[in-house]
């Protein structure tokens, strides 16, 4: 076997990464052995089917990926901080901006959102778990091992280097001969299957598992946003599945889909990628809208203004999101008619989005606002996201786009959309729901510290990019000469990136500090909130609710508190729970090896792994596990203990 293709040469940086990965792995193994935690890890986490634990694992993975993607970002900003920098060479710069995009969107924003929805949705609708707890574990492990497959590319074989959108012909075997884009097609495919399963799971959960009395139009706004997001996931991800499969066929088996000769059509890739890619933007942004809606209502002490228009604007966005994809390639060669059509549909999306912005503003109006950390992120989101949206409308004009296309103006635009529209939201949601999961709040003083660092640095980092774009700096250029005059603004942007890093370090330090020193909350409702997830104890018991709540109004908990409507009327009885299973984890591992062998065209091991996948699935079909019951006595004891009463 040719070992040469596994190696990545050159840079001290790569060797550094290899050594740190090796050290971290050894550290984890030694740590688990010394503290005798292997059994605990397997029983409580790797085999869990509990939606809360799966959610926590998603969020942990997302935080990890946030730092991986963040380091990529700092390397890029450092390389372009001054003219003619020699920190990275062109190839490594290509790899770094490619993995930055992939990781931040698919392995940071998506899992963070899916993690929050895993933790919160069943609670918010008053359910004991998701509809298919085992499939939920399958989803997580497929996502996780897909993410790992992409991450090892940095040290084994080389990372993808054709941009996160991997346009052909650049991504073809002819122009990207390393295995990097094989990793791209397989890692995304594996985690994409996991995401599709999540989509199905949550649609069924939300439509079929709601507490009695919770009609569709009484669902909390976050639940609505997640429902619509999952509908988009289910119908958009199959397009990516096909596109990635065709890419794999082109690269591994010599088919002629996206080639330049023999009837292939390179532009078809860009087309398919964005048929999925644009709805994907809404997949990460819509749940954010839901999170903000919850936070604004809670901290204004008012019900959400224009609930119905909020729901309908999201439904319209979900349909429109499938009608705008060509605005990503106005300059590709299609006619005026096509560009006009997609220009109009794109601008039309600004309307329902604008409706939402006004709804939030009207909710704030005359509210009794408390400026907590999650609320600060929400308040910062509104103006920053509006800048992102307005520059989006500028880009939507096809004729004007010929000027901005592929410049730093575009880069600034989508960071102004995605960071407030996804990252601030998940951080706000993280602070907001943290006490629900762990039973104590994150420290407010440290939280606000981090907030100011992040908000100010964000603008320092990305606002100069608008100007650089208008000056003519194109995206993805790894260096530039002094005469261009791009230097000073890039240096400013680099300074901003460092500030962002400090902000995120404070955020993580806050988790450590709060774990040790923050007072514990025994009320289960530290923010005086409105929706059902705050009606149970924190931390949440395994069965979520001792008794299934009965819902009569929209903000069920709020009206229960205000008008004394009892939520829990029934007696505590025994509770049925699904048992843990190791098969989803094993399935993930087998998929990982299947992907890895295909990346390196090792056919026989790949076939063996493929058969392994079918066998694990067959074994899951034969499973005859019917779960177990928690006796009523045990439920009552747990409830008392969580409320701080002595048993």
């Amino acid at each position: 076997m040719d070992l040469e293709k596994f190696k990545v040469h050159g840079e001290p940086l790569i060797y550094g990464a290899m050594i740190s990965i090796a050290l971290a792995t050894i550290g984890i193994i030694v740590g688990l052995t010394v503290f005798k935690k292997w059994g605990y890890l397997w029983r409580e986490w790797l085999t869990t089917v509990d939606h809360k634990r799966i959610g926590v694992m998603y969020i942990l993975a997302a935080l990890l990926m946030l730092f991986r993607g963040g380091i990529d970002a700092i390397m890029m900003r450092l390389q372009t901080a001054a003219p003619d920098m020699k920190f990275l060479d062109a190839q490594h710069y290509n790899e770094v901006f490619t993995t930055h995009g992939l990781i931040m969107i698919l392995f940071m924003a998506m899992p963070f959102i899916i993690g929050l929805m895993n933790v919160i949705i069943p609670l918010q609708i008053g359910a004991r778990d998701v509809a298919f707890p085992r499939l939920n574990a399958v989803s997580f492990w497929l996502f996780f091992f897909g993410a790992m497959l992409l991450n090892i590319s940095f040290v084994i074989g080389g990372s993808p280097d054709a941009g996160w959108s991997a346009y052909f012909p650049l991504a073809s075997i002819e122009f990207s001969p390393t295995v990097g884009n094989n990793y791209y097609s397989l890692a995304l495919q594996i985690s994409g299957i996991g995401t599709l399963i999540t989509g199905i799971n949550f649609i069924v959960t939300i439509l079929k598992m709601r507490a009695p009395g919770m009609k569709l139009m009484k669902m909390p706004m976050f639940t609505w946003s997640v429902l619509i997001t999952n509908i988009i996931i289910v119908f958009a991800f199959p397009v990516l599945t096909v596109a990635l499969a065709l890419m794999m066929f082109d690269r591994l088996f010599g088919s002629q889909f996206f080639t330049m000769a023999n009837g292939g059509m390179d532009m078809l890739w860009a087309n398919l990628f964005w048929v999925w890619g644009h709805p994907e933007v809404y997949i990460v942004v819509l749940p954010a809208f839901g999170i903000y809606s919850e936070i604004i209502a809670t901290f204004s002490k008012k019900n959400l203004y224009g609930y119905t228009s909020m729901v309908f604007s999201m439904l319209i966005i979900s349909l429109l999101s499938f009608l705008v994809w060509a605005h990503h390639f106005y300059t590709m060669g299609q006619g005026v008619m096509v560009n006009s059509f997609f220009s109009i549909t794109t601008m039309a999306i600004a309307v329902p989005t604008g409706v939402k912005i006004f709804n939030w503003l009207f909710t704030l109006r005359k509210g009794r606002i408390t400026f907590t950390t999650p609320m600060l992120y929400t308040l910062a989101f509104i103006p920053i996201f509006t800048i992102g949206g307005v520059t989006g409308v500028m880009l939507a004009m096809a004729s004007a786009d010929y000027q901005y296309h592929n410049t730093m103006f575009l880069v600034a635009h989508f960071h102004y959309v995605l960071i407030p529209g996804a990252v601030f939201a998940v951080i706000a949601g993280f602070h907001y729901w943290f006490p629900k999961v762990f039973g104590f709040r994150l420290n407010e003083r440290l939280g606000k510290h981090a907030f100011w660092w992040i908000i100010i640095s964000f603008n320092v980092t990305f606002f100069p990019l608008f100007l650089l774009g208008l000056m003519g700096m194109t995206r993805r250029m790894y260096t530039y000469s002094e005469e261009t005059g791009f230097g000073p603004l890039n240096m400013l942007s680099f300074a901003g990136a460092l500030g962002l890093a400090i902000g995120f370090v404070i955020l993580v330090y806050n988790i450590y500090w709060s774990t040790r020193y923050e007072p514990r909350d025994t009320t289960g409702d530290p923010w005086d909130a409105r929706t059902l997830e705050w009606a149970t104890n924190s931390p949440i018991p395994a069965y979520n609710f001792a008794v299934v709540p009965k819902v009569q109004t929209r903000d069920a908990l709020w009206s229960a508190k205000q008008d004394n409507i009892p939520l829990f009327t029934e007696e505590i009885t025994k509770i049925h729970m699904p048992s843990n299973t190791g098969k989803p984890f094993i399935l993930g591992v087998v998929f990982f090896f299947f992907g890895f062998f295909l990346v390196f065209s090792m056919w026989i091991p790949a076939i063996v792994a493929g058969v392994g996948i079918i066998l694990v699935m067959a074994a899951m079909s034969f499973d005859r596990d019917h779960g177990f019951y928690i006796p009523a006595k045990e439920v009552i004891a747990t409830e008392k203990k969580l409320r701080g009463e002595t048993v």
């Binding site: 439509l207 059509m265 078809l268 087309n271 048929v275 499938f322 005026v336 008619m337």
Partner: protein, 97 residues
Amino acid sequence: MMKQLFPIRHVMGYIASLVLSAAALAVIYLDLSKTVDIIILTVTAIIQASLQLFVFMHIGESADTKKELYINIAYALFVGLVTIFGTLFIFLWGWYA
């Protein structure tokens, strides 16, 4: 026994699907204009797909999910058709000439 094993609805559906497939063959054996051909193919295919959906798959049989299932299929068809015709619009009908 035979009546219970071979319900009339299924048998009729099966015969109809065979007849429709045979009818679609007209496009290769009869000399029709291209537009007529495409119309025949589209109509027979849609009727056949509906037969499967309504007669064999019982899409409407469960009252508590009926509405959701129709919306599900409608949304899927929306995305599918937008992908097909949008792409053809970009690359064939609307390509810069």
